[in-house]
């Protein structure tokens, strides 16, 4: 029986090659998309599962509020005192580990000087909690002593090659000598942090770093990522509920009782599941760029849509073709086949075809995976798909998809009454309405994806072209070593000796980065000094920063060495002026202003500019020279070069750098690149969107192609008679095309409001976004109609032109 069915299936496949090819191709495409996106989803949801107790580990995070209770900042790290205090206050905490991410520094071993990223400070608790595999050295003692360091395997190789790094010494930042006490295997790629070297936590007690006092008492250096392990059955919310009291108990109180606000009103702590960090945490200071659960949802839905379109093709084409197999059904029933047997036969057929498509799709998916990895900016390994559960799923998949797409055709065809069929008449109209509805569904989805693609592309382009309030062209940024400060003026003059270097400015942060530093501010409005309503972020800049970036002054002046009082001067942005309540930028100039305990005057006001990415609104900002508060130093140097001869400028820059800073590797980034990286996620999303929308429309059109091809063969005789009776080619093309085009038109009408709503929601994610481009909607509808028109007309024309005598003779 089975062999018989397989024979019949294969012969039918071969007999109707076009329809079979469309079905097989469509299903293969649809399933390939599903598999690729499955790999992506599996990867995204596999983060941070490597620690042995991953499901019980929580990260402590911290929020800050302004006096009105509005959240001003959300951090993924907390102050150094918090971890140890939590551990001693709450016995239910089984383990606690802290890691301080040190960013990048310069490391030197003998003559190897390299900029080292992903440096971190941690102790044995971190190794233990994260299940880090120690390859050499003693896991328990390696990070006990100050100035000891463990290296990730690849880092070790970078500095020491094949030699044993144990007990060798690395020089960090030109002065910190650390002894290598171990080598560990890096955390897996799918982790939310990847420290490349771990310096012992006790090293931080060094006064040149944080100092013992700050490490023990600081509530404000919120850079310490703190992880807790809770008992298996413990509800983390119970612990969280005790945090406000914990803060009020431990946080230092203000000196004057009048200012008293409970600390828990200004800040709070939360627990975040380790396994949720990658997909759901979007805090200001994430260790690495995280994924996004909504993106996972969006792509899952798109994959299902593509598969749905392919299934609909199968349903439509099989049902349309049913007339050709009606006799077979009739004969089988006459011979004694029951309806259920016929249904099973057709379902078996679709399952077989889907199985074939699945096999092809697995091949295609494996081939396309590296390519998708690049597009998606992650590493998707084939192992994601070649795992037991996935493979088992692949065996069930043809069953599910086969039944899904084969059920309607099977029910339809098995309902044929043999006494009618065998007499030669078959009403094929029952399936027609349903088929039309399915075509409409296909095009609703396709047009929706088309609109989505267009709007995502427009928004991404908008992000790239929005005036930022500064000029991001030809800017090079590099780490500024504090050791350069005494010689900085000489360095800058050496740089500017050549015309290719236009300017250079220093700052604590640079545009495209985040604004995370804030202090208390107070301003004179009217005649009293009042604290500002909300916090103001700060950046320290030197007197060349504004001209280097081309940031325009709205009033007052830039800092200048000619005014010694500028050491207590402030430059505000227009938003800060508005928030303080001064009437205009000009009115602000000369006013008294206190920031971070320093009393001074406003010397200038700049126009608002986009320091942060366009995902963030422009916030009030104050800028001052780094001498104003000891807390802020210059960390970055920005050099503006002439566009004419970039290589010459770079060469000059490098040689000057080498001359002044022989110990520092020369490494730079174009600000433009950093800027583009801000929108990488959207860029990728738009590429993938376009890709999947293209595939969806392509498969839908294939279906339309098959359907119209079929409709035409059914009507060859009618066309012949009409032509004999005098119909022109064009009237026949219209006759044959109008039916399908109407369906696409209906689909467009349905798709537009739907996609308008969804894209409207998507745009809300951006602080700066395009107006909903209304013209995209008719355009997408029109594009779909045009594509469909070309598909259909390409076939109808040849039939309509054909000599009617030929088509009539074939009957």
């Amino acid at each position: 029986m089975l062999r018989h069915y397989i024979t019949v299936t294969l012969r039918n496949l071969l007999k109707h090659k076009l329809i079979s090819a469309i079905n097989l191709f469509g299903l293969t495409m649809g399933l390939t998309c599903c598999l690729l996106i499955l790999a992506y989803i599996l990867h995204e949801t596999s983060y941070d599962r490597s620690p042995p107790t991953a499901s019980r580990i929580y990260r402590v995070t911290r929020d800050f509020y302004d006096p009105n209770g509005a959240t001003t900042l959300q951090l993924s790290a907390v102050a150094p005192v918090i971890g140890p205090l939590l551990k001693s206050d709450f016995p239910q905490i089984e383990k606690m580990a802290i890691i301080l991410s040190g960013g990048s520094i310069v490391a030197r071993y003998e003559d190897k000087i390299l900029t080292q990223d992903s440096l971190a400070f941690a102790d044995g608790n971190f190794l233990d909690l994260f299940g880090v595999r120690v390859l050499s050295g003693d896991a328990r003692t390696a990070l006990q002593e100050p100035r000891t360091i463990m290296l990730e395997q690849r880092t070790a190789r970078k500095y020491f090659g094949t030699a044993d790094p144990l007990n060798k010494e690395l020089k960090l930042d030109g002065n910190l000598l650390c002894k290598v006490t171990g080598v560990y295997q890096g955390l897996p790629e799918n982790s939310h942090l990847h420290p490349a070297m771990l310096i012992s936590y006790t090293t931080l007690n060094d006064p040149s770093l944080y100092g013992e006092e700050a490490m023990r008492t600081s509530w404000s250096s919120n850079s310490f990522h703190t992880y807790l392990q809770l008992p298996a059955t413990y509800d983390a919310a119970q612990l969280e509920a005790q945090f406000p009291a914990f803060l009020d108990r431990h946080m230092p109180q203000p000196k004057r009782a009048a200012d008293f606000v409970p600390p828990s009103k200004m800040t709070s702590l939360q627990l975040q599941r380790l396994t949720d960090v990658h997909l759901t945490s979007h805090r200001a200071d994430e260790l690495e760029a995280n994924g996004d659960i909504t993106r996972v949802y969006i792509f899952s839905i798109i994959a299902l849509f593509v598969l749905l379109i392919a299934c609909i093709n199968y349903m439509n084409l099989s049902t349309a073709r049913a007339a050709l197999r009606a006799k077979e059904v009739g004969v089988r029933k006459v011979i004694g086949a029951r309806r259920s047997e016929i249904i099973l036969q057709f379902l078996g057929e679709s399952v077989l075809i889907t199985a074939l498509a699945t096999a092809l799709a697995v091949g295609c998916a494996l081939l396309a995976l590296p390519w998708l990895s690049r597009l998606a900016g992650t590493t998707l390994s084939p192992e994601l798909l070649l795992r037991g559960p996935v493979l088992a799923g692949l065996l069930v998949l043809p069953l599910v998809v086969g039944v899904l797409s084969g059920l309607y055709p099977a029910l339809y065809m098995s309902s044929f009454q043999p006494q009618h069929i065998l007499k030669g008449f078959l009403k094929n109209s029952g399936g027609l309405t349903f088929r039309r509805a399915l075509v409409v569904v296909q095009f609703v989805v396709s047009i929706g994806l088309l609109v989505g693609t267009a709007i995502v592309l427009l928004q991404v382009r908008y992000l790239q072209q929005t005036p930022l309030g500064y000029n991001r062209e030809q800017l090079l940024t590099m780490t500024y070593p504090p050791t350069l400060t005494p010689q900085y003026e000489a360095f800058r003059q050496a740089l500017q000796q050549q015309a290719s270097v236009l300017n250079a400015g220093r700052s604590s942060r640079i545009p495209t980065g985040r604004l995370l530093d804030a202090s208390d501010a107070a301003a004179v409005v009217g005649d009293s000094l009042r604290p500002t309503a909300a916090s103001i972020k700060f950046v320290s800049i030197d007197d060349q920063f504004l001209p280097t970036y081309g940031i325009r002054l709205a009033a007052g002046r830039n800092f200048s060495p000619a005014f010694p009082t500028d050491t207590t001067g402030f430059i505000l942005n227009a938003s800060a002026v508005r928030m303080v309540g001064w009437d205009s930028p000009a009115a602000a100039v000369g006013q008294a202003f206190r920031y971070g305990g320093v009393m001074g005057r406003v010397v200038g006001v700049v126009e608002d500019f986009h320091f942060e990415s366009l995902h963030q609104p422009i916030v009030p900002l104050v800028m001052f020279l780094s001498t104003v508060t000891s807390r802020s130093s210059y960390n970055l140097l920005t050099v503006k070069i002439a566009g004419a001869n970039v290589p010459a400028a770079l060469a000059h820059l490098e040689s000057t750098w080498k001359q002044f800073l022989p110990e520092q590797p020369f490494a730079y980034t174009f600000l433009d690149e950093s800027y583009n990286r801000l929108y990488e996620a959207e860029q990728r999303q738009s590429t993938l969107f376009a890709l999947f929308a293209g595939i969806a429309i392509f498969i839908a059109c294939l279906g339309l192609f098959g359907l119209s091809a079929f409709a035409i063969t059914q009507r060859v005789k009618e066309i012949g008679i009409r032509k004999v009776l005098g119909a022109s080619t064009s009237t026949i093309v219209v006759l044959l095309s109008s039916d399908f085009l109407r369906l696409v038109g209906v689909a467009a009408l349905l798709a537009l409001p739907l996609s308008w709503y969804l894209m409207h929601r998507w745009l809300q994610n951006f602080a700066y976004r395009i107006e909903m481009p209304w013209w995209v909607f008719p355009l997408a509808g029109l594009a779909a109609v045009l594509i469909a028109l070309v598909t259909i007309v390409s076939q109808t024309v040849s039939v309509a032109r054909a000599n009617p005598v030929r088509s009539l003779r074939t009957e």
């Binding site: 019949v8 004694g336 009454q417």
Partner: protein, 225 residues
Amino acid sequence: MIKITNLEKTYRTEEVETVVLHALNLEVREGEFVAVMGPSGCGKSTLLNILGLLDDPNSGSFVFDNTETVGFNERRRAELRKHAIGFVFQSFNLIDELTVYENVELPLIYTGVSAAERKTRVEEVLDKMRIMHRRHHYPQQLSGGQQQRVAVARAVVNRPRLILADEPTGNLDSSNGNEVMDLLSELNEQGTTIVMVTHSEHDARYSHRIVRMLDGQTVTETILT
């Protein structure tokens, strides 16, 4: 074997109601060869479909082997059809995608006969129908006469006790027609009951009894010997 009493069959479309069979009575005994004749549209095919359990009467009774079949569910109809009844049509109705051999084998597959036995039985029937040499051909590659011989082979391969033939020679020339009629006679002599619809007096003479229908009723019966 067959006893039909007071059979009514009407087709209802939106506007019109066609009475096709009206108060029809018919009895067919085991081993008989009955020819049904009558003008086009008088309901011969409809009657045959009801006899073959492909169609339901609106009222009346149809007793097959002493069992009332009116009200049988789909499973029991298919069961009876598959084991006891073979069909031959004017337009052959072979499945184009299957070879001669596979077409004839099909009923045996549905009755669940083992592969080995299927082979012997199919070959035996093909031999008998003198079409063995064409067993790997597809229907389109055969002449009308050959196709009808395959259709007869398929009808008898399950050794049914009743063969229903609807104008089996209608699409054949006289020599091919005679060949098919000879085959049917032969089957009848071996004990198979046959009910055949025909427009040909010549073919009707192969039967034992001619039933003439007019407007959904049997009007005369002629016994031939």
